[in-house]
């Protein structure tokens, strides 16, 4: 049969592969060739893997022998460039790691391979996942397929566009303050950040370790959930992963009540985004949900908390790039000269900005005023969410305050770029699972995202409501 990437989902492709309507090789060839055709214009992939077809052949051979195959057997998937794949370059879209080859597989890569997925390439991103537009990539921005003069969002922009433009059936990204949900919203696909501790970060390049999570992108909620199930689970190689049987949960029930923190969204939201948000809320009401107003008294401080904690952790985590053990080396007069010149030459503008900011908030005399205070307010915000979840099963917000902005529009003003994260950061600060699902488009055809936040480790509630909220 003729393969049409624009209509396939991971679920439908899986059925076709099982019925023998096409082979994993044919499916992979279709996506690889489309990716090669579109990559010049959109700059989605930093590399498309030549050995993807070999991997597909292996799946076909195993299927022919009647072997039991994993849930993603033969499904082409794209991987963000900050996740290690043994033997492949993993650059985090940075000059400092331009020629770095991963020496081991991230745990999620082992899981994907075990499930039979075909990894077809590594995707563009903001350098070290720092940014909300993919314009901070050292290798040029990724363009939005709905309007190529606009950004894809970020930092996982390449992964979002890979799914949105049908250049892979699924993709994985990482989300620290919204880096999966925001590009998913800008590109009209589903993107999900699991609870902190759900997915192993072994083999993910650390940006802000108390916030980073790997998560899935898909065209549908069902596809996204399928990929999430493959990725999640405790891992001895990441001590922050949590055994779900040790989490105290409310008794499982079908979600009925949804809360909206009205005071938080009454100002600063694009009218078209607000209209789409209200339409989706009405749709949920029509499907039997009770909608109530809730108070999250300190949520408006989440962004400031984030822009203290995140750079503090960035400045610590990126200290490892010193030109000695891996990556770029620039020769200076002495060892210190090697360090400062390697880092000065290798890091881009935003990375330097965040390292400097983090160094400031952690430095003597400022630590208590910034870092200490931010840690305390983080706890308060988390407690606010816990209190709210005593009355509601989930909380909803717009995914972003505005639709995809123009390339170059916010690059000269970092604070304006940071304000883009206002609705995604709260769930990150509170370590909660959150998802962005498509909620229609603006009059000019730009996608809009609707965000759902569920209690800690209640991903089942998240997916259940997301299926009712999705507007195709």
């Amino acid at each position: 049969m003729i393969i049409d990437p624009t209509t396939l989902t991971a679920h439908t492709a899986h059925k076709h592969l099982i019925s023998g309507d096409f082979s994993a090789r044919e499916l992979t060839e279709t996506y690889v060739s489309r990716a090669r055709q579109h990559n010049g214009e959109l700059n989605v992939y930093l590399e498309i893997f030549d050995d993807a077809l070999t991997a597909a052949d292996k799946i076909d051979a195993r299927r022919a022998r009647g072997e039991a195959l994993g849930p993603l057997a033969g499904i082409p998937i794209a991987v963000k460039d900050n996740i290690l794949i043994k033997g492949k370059i993993a650059s985090s879209a940075s000059k400092i790691l331009e020629n770095y080859h991963a020496t081991y597989d991230a745990t999620v890569i082992e899981k994907l391979t075990h499930a039979g997925a075909i990894i077809i390439g590594r995707t563009n991103m903001d350098e070290f996942a720092m940014g909300g537009s993919t314009e901070n990539s050292a290798f040029g921005p990724t363009k939005n397929p709905h309007d190529t003069t606009r950004v894809a969002g970020g930092s996982s922009g390449g992964s979002a566009v890979a799914v949105a433009d049908h250049l892979a059936l699924l993709a994985i990204g990482s989300d620290t303050g919204g880096s999966i949900r925001q590009p998913a919203a800008f590109c009209g696909v589903v993107g999900m950040k699991p609870s902190y501790g759900r997915v192993s970060r072994s083999g993910l390049m650390a940006m802000a370790s108390s916030l980073d999570q790997i998560g899935p992108f898909g065209k549908t909620v069902e596809d996204t959930e399928l990929l999430y199930r493959v990725l999640s689970g405790p891992d001895a190689r990441d001590a922050t992963t949590v055994d779900p049987t040790r989490v105290t949960m409310v008794a499982p029930r079908s979600p009925k009540t949804i809360g909206i923190p009205r005071a938080f969204i009454e100002k600063g939201v694009d009218p078209e985004i607000m209209k789409a948000f209200e339409n989706t809320v009405v749709q949920l009401k029509n499907k039997g949900y009770t909608i109530v107003d809730i108070a999250l008294p300190n949520i408006h401080h989440a962004l400031a908390v984030y822009y203290v904690l995140m750079p503090a952790e960035v400045s610590s985590n990126l200290a490892r790039f010193d030109g000695v053990r891996y990556g770029l080396h620039v020769d200076g007069e002495d060892l210190l000269g090697d360090y400062v010149q390697t880092r000065g030459r290798g890091f881009g503008r935003e990375v330097k900005r965040r390292i400097m900011l983090g160094t400031y908030v952690l430095s003597a005399g400022y630590y208590d005023a910034y870092y200490g205070k931010a840690c305390a307010i983080r706890r308060v915000i988390r407690k606010d969410f816990e209190d709210a979840f005593a009355h509601v099963d989930a909380i909803v917000l717009p995914a972003t305050p505005s639709p995809a902005f123009a390339l170059g529009e916010k690059t000269s003003d970092p604070l304006q770029m940071y304000l883009e994260d206002v609705f995604t950061v709260p769930a990150s600060i509170a370590e909660l699972p959150a998802i962005s699902v498509p909620a229609g488009k603006t009059t000019t055809g730009l996608p809009i995202g609707f965000q759902i936040i569920a209690p800690y480790f209640a991903e089942n509630i998240l997916f259940s409501i997301a299926k009712d909220a999705y507007v195709s």
Partner: protein, 98 residues
């Protein structure tokens, strides 16, 4: 209120962060850090956080046992190092003779 970040602050931070910056970069950072710190300074006015335990995280340790066989990863790791000599990573001398 614009949070004051001086040129001296930027020089000191760059030194602490081990990053060489051009004078243009320093000027931009002076402005950017000032405006970002002004924004996050809303936190310093909050008073409802007295008595909150800030250190709610805890360490998780694995048992120090079952090491991998010595040397099995050395070649792959050394291949990524910019300068090596046999099984060593080469760095510049840091202690000088009197």
């Amino acid at each position: 209120m614009q949070k004051g970040i001086s040129h001296t602050d930027i020089v000191r931070l760059a030194d602490l962060a081990r990053i060489e910056l051009s004078s243009d970069e320093m000027a931009t950072l002076e402005h950017d850090l000032g405006s970002i710190l002004t924004y996050v300074s809303e936190l310093s006015s909050l008073t409802n956080i007295e008595g909150i335990d800030r250190t709610y995280t805890s360490n998780t340790f694995r048992a120090d046992e079952q090491p991998h066989e010595s040397g099995v990863h050395s070649a792959a790791l050394l291949a990524e190092a910019p300068k090596t000599n046999r099984e060593y990573v080469v760095v510049k001398q840091i202690i000088t003779k009197r």
